[in-house]
Symmetry: D2
Subunit: 372 residues, 4 copies
């Protein structure tokens, strides 16, 4: 079997998960290169995952790694230019969420991939998480009748990397980081290209990261779709005790609850503690919800395998650049609603350099504006 060659751009938290996922669950792919700005991190990643070449320049990685796929795992502000460079060089592109910072970038990325006849996948792992896929299958076979209310929570104690706090790089806080999961999942659950009609949002800042950022640390967003179904996304960077990812789906014929972390875990009481319980768990002393196979249960290997198969079989990914763009539009609308206190009708567009500016204005990240 001729393996599909992947270059991973980035060597951080999520790049590690991708590398492990390819290695353990996608034998038809081979990670042939990694790229990180720091030579040390690139080398270490390559050694850790048995990757044969490493680069410190994205352009080099794209040009010289002989990859078929560029897998983009770097900060949000670099998404568009990297994707476009990759497509232009004839590579297929899979990109971590969110798609990019602006709708204009999104359009360019989509156009670039189309123009070069390259595939572009928006890597929304919740569309592949096996427990949630079971929920989706239940809904599709009519187990809960007609769905009128979905809820998706993703909450933890704050980002892995400093760049998330830098609005110029991230474009927003907990909603940009995790609300995108909920928004994408609501659309996926409804199927096809569901039309969202409005977004309402309430955002809070000044909680446990107030010395580092003015981003929203906690938020509730309500997305209304044509036909009246709503999706309520709750997202937090201020929730202690480990990663939370759970959904509820209410229909006229029933209801489903699913919890990816606590709802799968072993329950452990350890007097002296142990090494690792779950992402962002804090201490492992006392009671903990000990997670297993985190990458698999979140859908990462399934997502990557799907894209590799799309590339190999020339089929279209189930989550496309257009889906990523639709999610980004919802993010725009959420920030707009946070500012205006109004339900924002869709389609929605404003000319901004990043979504959070719709809430905080364009100067939110200037030093004086952050409390220290």
């Amino acid at each position: 079997m001729d393996r599909t060659k992947v270059a991973i751009i980035g060597a951080g938290f999520i790049a590690d998960i991708h590398a492990e996922s390819y290695h353990r669950f996608v034998p038809e792919a081979e990670v042939v290169a990694v790229c990180a700005r720091s030579e040390e991190r690139a080398r270490a990643f390559a050694a850790r995952h048995g990757v044969r070449s490493w680069f410190t320049s994205v352009d080099d990685a794209i040009a010289r790694s002989e990859c078929d796929i560029v897998d983009i795992c770097i900060p949000n502000d670099l998404h568009a230019r990297t994707a476009i460079a990759a497509a232009t060089a004839g590579k297929h592109v899979i990109i971590e969420k969110p798609l990019c910072l602006t709708l204009e970038e999104a359009d360019e990325m989509i156009a670039a991939c189309k123009g070069h006849r390259r595939k572009l996948m928006y890597a929304e792992e919740l569309c592949f998480a096996p427990k949630y896929e079971r929920v989706r299958a239940l809904v599709r076979e009519g187990a809960v009748g007609s769905v009128y209310h979905m809820r998706q929570c993703e909450k933890h104690s704050g980002p892995h990397s400093d760049w998330f706090y830098d609005l110029a790089r991230s474009g927003g806080g907990a909603v940009m980081d995790m609300g995108c999961h909920g928004f994408a999942w609501f659309r996926w659950m409804l199927g096809g290209r569901p039309r969202a009609v409005s977004v309402q949002a309430h955002m809070q800042t000044g909680l446990i990261h107030k010395d580092r950022t003015r981003c929203e640390e906690n938020a509730v967003c309500i997305v209304e779709f044509e036909g009246g179904t709503i999706g309520v996304a709750e997202n937090s960077w201020a929730k202690l005790g480990g990663m939370e990812d759970r959904v509820e789906v209410s229909g006229t014929g029933g209801v489903i609850y699913a919890d990816l972390f606590m709802g799968n875990s072993a329950l452990t009481y350890s007097e002296h503690g142990y090494g690792y319980a779950v992402e962002k768990a804090g201490s492992s002393r006392g009671w903990t919800f000990t997670m297993f196979e985190e990458a698999f249960n979140q859908g990462y290997p399934q997502e990557l395998k799907h894209f590799v198969e799309c590339v190999r079989n020339d089929t279209e990914p189930i989550v496309s650049g257009e889906d990523g763009r639709a999610v980004l539009e919802l993010l725009y609308a959420a920030y707009e609603s946070a500012r205006t206190g109004r339900k924002v009708p869709l389609p929605f567009h404003r000319q901004v350099s990043r979504p959070i500016d719709l809430w905080l204005g364009p100067h939110a990240d200037e030093p004086a504006s952050i409390r220290r």
Copy 2:
């Protein structure tokens, strides 16, 4: 011991719970009378609970039962006049939620009780539910730091009585019926007389009761308090599988989850089914979450005992008419927000004959407007 005499006005679902609660847990009180419009129901209630006299006229019940307390368990549209009549006759008043239909009525009720130096308690049982009181105590001792987000869900498959569907009697749907619990509980958790600054709401209708009502059957309301803490209330009349009542409290130092029903129940699998699992459970075949001591776990006996003690010791109830009025104002704002799609600032007042008119307008319950 000289027992405090109670007349229960109403003989329905909640009146039964009150009677049972007094009987089992409030020995210092005695239910001396019941009043129901139908002689048959009044008689049956009296027999069922060993109550010595029954009436079919509220005025008679107040005048002739020799009660100290009038406990009002009748439809919302009758709350104000009954409370005022009771106070005028020198009786103390405890009244089921919501306080009444309009802010004007609320003011009159409060004034009447004050004028006749009678006590008025707003019977919000969640302020007495022992599990939630444990949550409140945790918060007060600082277990979760500074609270920034509360969530309260109360959901079931629809009301016990037909009058709830009649807007002229109920004044609203799931939010009027159950959102009042969440709103009261948020205020109670914050303590003192917390100032709410805004309400945002999204409401849905046309679900499982669409042939009977245009009321909201499902809703999400976000109440923001001074200081920034939010309370998210989710309420539904379209949630199958039995009563749901759960809370989450997130603070800068931790988080608490509590579930009054599923989170207390025994878990039962019964091939052939059995009599009763929990309020509005539907079938008892297969898996069920079997509840026990429902009234106690929801706080009814504790609430009634508290009021009896207030009357006996001449102290003030912890949930007053003013609290009921404040909740009603939030209900007004929620319906207003559902119509306008905007965050409604508080204080808020409009002249309406019932809260739901702020959402649907004054003609919502005319026959032509209900789909059949």
Copy 3:
């Protein structure tokens, strides 16, 4: 109302629970006296619970407190003599588990109460715990068909008081302390006077209390009843993380799971910890299962109220001295089985001075036999 007067003998952990239970839930009773060997503890208890008189001699407490009921909450070795003294003085007797140390004592206690026409109640609170009573009601209405297997676990990290480690006082370890609950509950679930036909047991020692005792710290006992139904009791003094009390009931038509502590609790994550989570919880930092209304949920108030009503109405308690004796016989058989490795048929009797001698022999508590 003329209140029934209770003298509590003992001022430790369980005496506190009884006093609180009478006070909050049994208005028809009044705790008029407490007795503790130490004047300081007796005084403190009386002050804590508003009890008007205290004694340091059991005989005085019985003779001079003018009580109707003697409620025995002292170490196991003192049960028989106290109960007999109380009955002889014309008092009704309620006694904490286990009934006493030997079957001969049991017979004398029962005879003394009968002879003086006094009531003797064996205070098995699990026969009153509301969740378990719900389970029993389900079984009785046929929800799970014919029951063939019951399991009851009671586990925690070890006793509250030092005397439990002293075999001469306790008569045994975790099985004597807590297996008695399971054994009593199995009998109660089957109803009537079910005939146990055998007991098999495996016991372990040398775990976390090995420096203090040679008692069994962990055990599994299987009781077989006529007709073939079994009850599996798991008991531990070596289980960290807080009190555990749970049951499973399997029948030919279904199954029931019920958990008195974790299965009722709020779930809390507290970064800095808080005061108290649940009996023997250890630390309250990190995740904890926060319990509420522990006495009520374990059935203490209901049990005491029942006895007070029996005394007032001259009816027989549902858990009698004979039931306590039957449980003691099962305890004997369990220790015998732990020694012999055989299923011990019932009825079973040996002449011993305490049950654990059947496992370890009569010299188990001599200094040299305990590892230090």
Copy 4:
């Protein structure tokens, strides 16, 4: 990549799981043949799984399929002869539990594989179930101190195939079928070749399958290991409501609870029901615990992948024929204990033609002995 060729012997429930597992998760293997006695079933299986050849004779399948591995998924009485035939023909052997019917067969199978230098793996999937492997890792890193008590339950409503009821084929009931999982898992948790010192068992029959078999339908077995740690296995063919597989591990420094099915599932309420909830769930109406990725969560793909890697890399499987034999010896001892009511010391051996004879005697399956 040259794929390792597998012939699956059997076309029933477990053969389907194996085929699906190879297909989805073991790309380095290829199922090249299936064998079933019925041509129809063999053909259908081949079609269902895309297997290129099918056989109705085991000898043909071994001789003519050009397989490297024979994967044995047929009734217990055929295990030994099939394994020996495969080894003799130069094939590696992986075999479903239990290893075979008698210790003599076990010795022959092990000798045959050794003699022909073929690998023999005992397919105990619980040694690969990812949640349980997480539990094992926790224990190994000391999270719960020194383990003194393990519990493993596997319970459901009865076997998939009729041959399980036929003692001549199965060799026993719920303990033979599922107790083997617990016994293997206890040994695996302790690591190395732990020495079991005794087995105690209580077995029940005459429950929901009494018209079909005299086998044990419910059982509790206690295995004691050198050093004092115990393993309690609870197994049932009479437990309604779907497959149950859960473990508890108690140590001197903590405790772990893990549940493979309910503890992973989504929780669904469906008014009208849906297709499939979980293995042996019964109805899907009302509340159900909806399972996902059952094969993966039980460890089947991981187990098969491990064996394929052992074959490819010439390494030894972590669960060997010797382990299967050790489990079989524990099964013998369990049935012996069920008959004698005694703790049976190990090593244990009797000359029998199947384990259950040690409990019921050699004539248990004669027609007259089964109630119809």
